[in-house]
Symmetry: C2
Subunit: 415 residues, 2 copies
């Protein structure tokens, strides 16, 4: 008998009607004779409401207690889904993280799963019950409730799929699958039938937002077949698996873009071994996420360093670096905001030199200024002016042959 | 070092400001060098909101899943109180029912506590932490989350006090203590310095509502000193303990009253061994709570049975009895609504014959019709017309010497 794991996110369980629909979806799988484990998130904005409560009490909530607080959100959802299942005649049982045997590190708010003790789940599955598991949470060996941090419910689902040796792990979202680009902006975007873990990982990291990178990494490590599909309509989703079978001839599989990027340049730092380490440790300690980093020597043996950050962190970043002017020993700091990052992704790049050059050519022909560049084995990213982001993406989408055919365009428009 | 247990109900933790006040109260006790375990309920109306969600999904929610759902309410409160404590410099830790080692039967929605494994609590207390425990909930030996039913948080607090061998268990409410009668209605009501378990039990059962009878019974069985006190102001509360010391000379310690009572009379039932059993099993199976029962023989060897119920159950009761007319074999069914029950309570009654007669005398002099009577060792109750309830209570309050002196009246008015 096949075991499958599926996950429904916060918007898919946002109200009672949607919860009933999720119950129907589970029933369909049960009716096929499958063993079904379903992971759910907290309902819609309920986590935000809990965070607001905590913030009304303190600016600096204790991490253990935040986990205690936030874990209630998913617990509410699992119980309601089971009630909805029983209402339509499906036997089911809900399990919190600790009841499902999801053991994590003690690291509150961002705990990693260390073990999954599946006996209780297996017993319920063997009894013919649908099993509902609270996403995003676990328990430490000491018996403290923990949460997994961002993308936690996706990670829960993938980890359960690995532990239960499930046939697949379906991630239900509000889109029908993974697209060559965000269809809300790139009109010719096309849904992919399949994509490899590495490509998905680049796209996830690059802000495509359908799947959390951590969950994709987990799936890759344990070779879990992921399926991204719509919780609203019954259409084929996108398979994320070891080798994307369908479209291997494509060099570029998709593209991603994100706004609100600021480039910061620190000029004439001293040419010392610890210059880079001092600067970026400073930022890391303040939890400022740095993306692209460029280091250049000046003619007089100084170092110019540029890096990109989310624009929301600009004030904090400038304050920090100004405050450390004496110890960092730089001459000047400059910044440029209203930038965006456009990236192309595809595992075919490894064996296809010149992809980056092609990308630059396209951007040049569109008269888009390139502010920064970064490359990995399967991705090339360019930081460009925010106002050019969509135009650049559409041009890249077309020139790398990602555009949908007419029929596909209609489907993309529906999504 | 003294260990104390205290409990704050839903209104005492109804919003963020009140939660901060509870944290201050806990800090005061910690500052005295006491080991403090605090049990809290769900915030204000949050349990109602959860019940509404369940009712939107099904008319008949699964009991296990209701427990899973409702247990989140207290979990939210404990985490917020700990955050508030840490904000004012008090080290603290929150524990759910299962984390606090509260083991119950598997009987969902109304589970009884079977064991309390205190090692985790003791460890945290020894580490100098304030311990916050989620009221109303526990865990079965099978690892299922259970709830204790009505009055559950009071019961949690008393059970923890017994298990931890605490000096006392304070129940913080929105009144300053236990009164001779409900001060909202009986103007001369007076707060009691102390009251015995049995008297409190009668008052609790009679609807005085300050403490749940189950918690009082638990306290009596384990000889836990209960203190009922105000969460709003720092005044002496009422001690509930084995022998109420201060006012032993009083025959009547307090009185209780409740409205919305209906008397139902079933006429001319057959005089058979199983007549009473058939009738009341019928009602019990439908979860209709019957209070006073009176059985009378008719001159022609039939039986007339009268009983009192909450008026909200009248329709259901009449339907049931009508439907079973053939099997029950009665001639007629009558009912009288808009009634109330007035009760006087005092352990001094056992050694004072004539208390009931005195009560009837007072009611007669006030021209209050007595519809039904019931007596126990330490209480006498009379069912009277609802419109006479307050007048009858005030007359009884005065004639049994319960009235407050002037100074006490002012305090009662403040409450």
């Amino acid at each position: 008998m096949t075991t499958i794991v599926q996950k429904f996110g916060g918007t898919s369980v946002g109200d009672v009607q949607k919860i009933k629909r999720v119950a129907e979806r589970i029933k369909e799988r049960m009716d096929r004779g499958e063993k079904v484990v379903t992971v759910v998130s907290a309902m819609g904005k309920s986590t935000d409401a809990l965070v607001d409560l905590a913030n009304d009490i303190t600016d600096n909530p204790d991490p253990r207690e935040m986990d205690m607080l936030l874990a209630t959100g998913e617990q509410v959802t699992i119980s309601l889904v089971v009630m909805a299942l029983k209402e339509i005649g499906v036997d089911a049982v809900s399990l919190t993280g600790w009841q499902a045997g999801i053991i994590t590190e003690e690291n509150h708010q961002d705990a990693r799963i260390t073990d999954i003790r599946t006996d209780k789940m297996q017993k319920h599955l063997n009894d013919g019950k649908a099993v509902l598991v609270a996403g995003f949470q676990g328990v430490s060996e000491d018996g403290n409730i923990t949460t997994l941090g961002r993308g936690g419910s996706d990670t829960t689902a993938v980890a359960l799929a690995a532990a239960l040796d499930a046939e697949s792990c379906s991630i239900y979202t509000d889109v029908t699958g993974v697209y060559t680009a965000d269809p809300r902006f790139v009109k010719k975007a096309r849904q992919l039938a399949s994509i490899s873990y590495d490509e998905m990982l680049e796209l996830a990291n690059l802000g495509a937002g359908v799947l959390h990178p951590r969950a994709v990494e987990f799936a890759k490590n344990y070779n879990v077949t992921l399926v991204v599909r719509s919780s609203m309509e019954e259409v084929e989703g996108t398979y994320v698996e070891e080798e994307a079978s369908m479209e291997q001839n494509l060099v570029v599989r998709g593209l991603a873009f994100e706004k609100n990027i600021t480039k910061v340049t620190v000029e004439r730092l001293p040419d010392q071994f610890d210059t880079m380490s001092n600067l970026f440790t400073l930022l890391a300690d303040a939890n400022i996420n740095v993306d692209i980093i460029i280091q250049q020597m000046t003619s007089d043996h100084g170092i110019n360093v540029s890096f990109s950050i989310d624009s929301s962190n600009l004030g904090k970043t400038l304050d920090l670096i100004h405050r450390e002017k004496a110890s960092l020993c730089y001459s000047e700091i400059r910044h440029e905001s209203s930038l965006a990052k456009v990236s192309i992704v595809g595992s075919g790049m490894i064996s296809n030199p010149g992809v980056a050059a092609n990308m630059f050519k396209v951007l040049a022909s569109e008269q888009v200024a390139i502010k920064m560049v970064s490359t990995s084995e399967i991705a090339v990213s360019a930081v460009v002016p925010e106002e050019d982001m969509i135009r650049a993406s559409e041009a890249l989408h077309t020139s790398f042959e990602l555009d949908a055919k007419e029929k596909e365009k209609i489907e993309a428009a529906k999504a």
